[in-house]
């Protein structure tokens, strides 16, 4: 596999009850996630978006982190014709650069940070309308951002991830990614 590397640009937490995330100088990563963030936990409670679970079911927490990229947020801003979209408006936890097509990276891809933290991707972060309203509120003079946000941000909203190995993260830290085994051809047809 090719060596694919990126840089951790920012670390942010969303304290319980707040609606945007705020930058912190270093991230303490435990098996529960990012200390100080409202998604911290080994388990979580379903919100009714998963048809196989009644709302309120306790399941393992695979949404400990939201990871977004500088490149994709810049594309969202360009599509919306606004100067910028801040990672904090999407309550992102890690802003990275250097990885093209981050949002559609395969399930199970591992992010191996130079100081030892390892995170595992548990899927694409699906769009919701909350950051649409937040982004609109920063550009009150421009019409239609709230309306157009979800479409503009489709497949650019980053990924969710959980901790495989704990440690400390710092802005500026490098990481490499490791892709899981590609799908065996025996299963390709079954997904259609």
């Amino acid at each position: 596999m090719k060596l694919i590397e990126g840089t951790l640009e920012k670390i942010l937490i969303t304290p319980e009850g707040e609606n945007i995330s705020r930058e912190i100088p270093e991230g303490e990563i435990t098996f529960e996630g990012l200390v100080g963030d409202c998604h911290l936990g080994l388990t979580t409670v379903t919100h009714g978006h998963q048809p196989e679970y009644p709302k309120g079911t306790k399941i393992r927490n695979d949404r400990q982190f939201t990871i977004l990229s500088v490149e994709e947020l810049s594309e969202v801003a360009k599509t919306l014709q606004i100067p910028r979209v801040e990672v904090s408006w999407l309550t992102g936890n890690l802003l990275i650069s250097g990885i093209k097509n981050l949002s559609v990276i395969p399930f199970g891809t591992r992010f191996i940070f130079s100081n030892g933290v390892v995170l595992s991707c548990s899927g694409e972060n699906n769009p919701c309308s909350h950051p649409a309203r937040i982004t609109q509120s920063y550009y009150p003079e421009i019409e239609g951002i709230a309306r157009d946000f979800v479409k503009a941000a489709m497949h650019r909203r980053g990924i969710i991830a959980w901790t495989e190995h704990s440690g400390t993260l710092h802005p500026g830290e490098q990481f490499r990614i490791e892709l899981p085994h590609p799908w065996n051809p025996a299963w390709q047809n079954e997904a259609e």
Copy 2:
């Protein structure tokens, strides 16, 4: 996606220090795994097989369960020209039927059992030589099983998995599988 269903045939635990697994009448599934099995735990310690971790590193436990299939074990036996290979000889935890090509099922596939337990696949179970010796010991009169086992069992050794939703499992229970999103074409080339 097509509906793909199977049956849970057997539940087995390997108590700490033992080298084959034993059948149990019902399985208590927690977020740590299968109660009574030696792989129980939210975290585990690496054995030196993963180059990115020094031996003895504490990481999240994605090997709570080993799942094998009746069909693949039957193929292993056929290849080795022996009457049968028991799931217990491979210290399997769940023996299932009805899923073709189980061992190469995509990372992240979910097994949704009819009584509510959900397990998530964390990869193929790599062959080791331990079950080769065990299987040989059950057929002392047949030469070469220990030698040929790893090759015969390649991509038929089942998968490893972890708990997404806890509950109780019973032999005879039905389940359906849910595949993750297929790889986006943007990432296909990167894996080569």
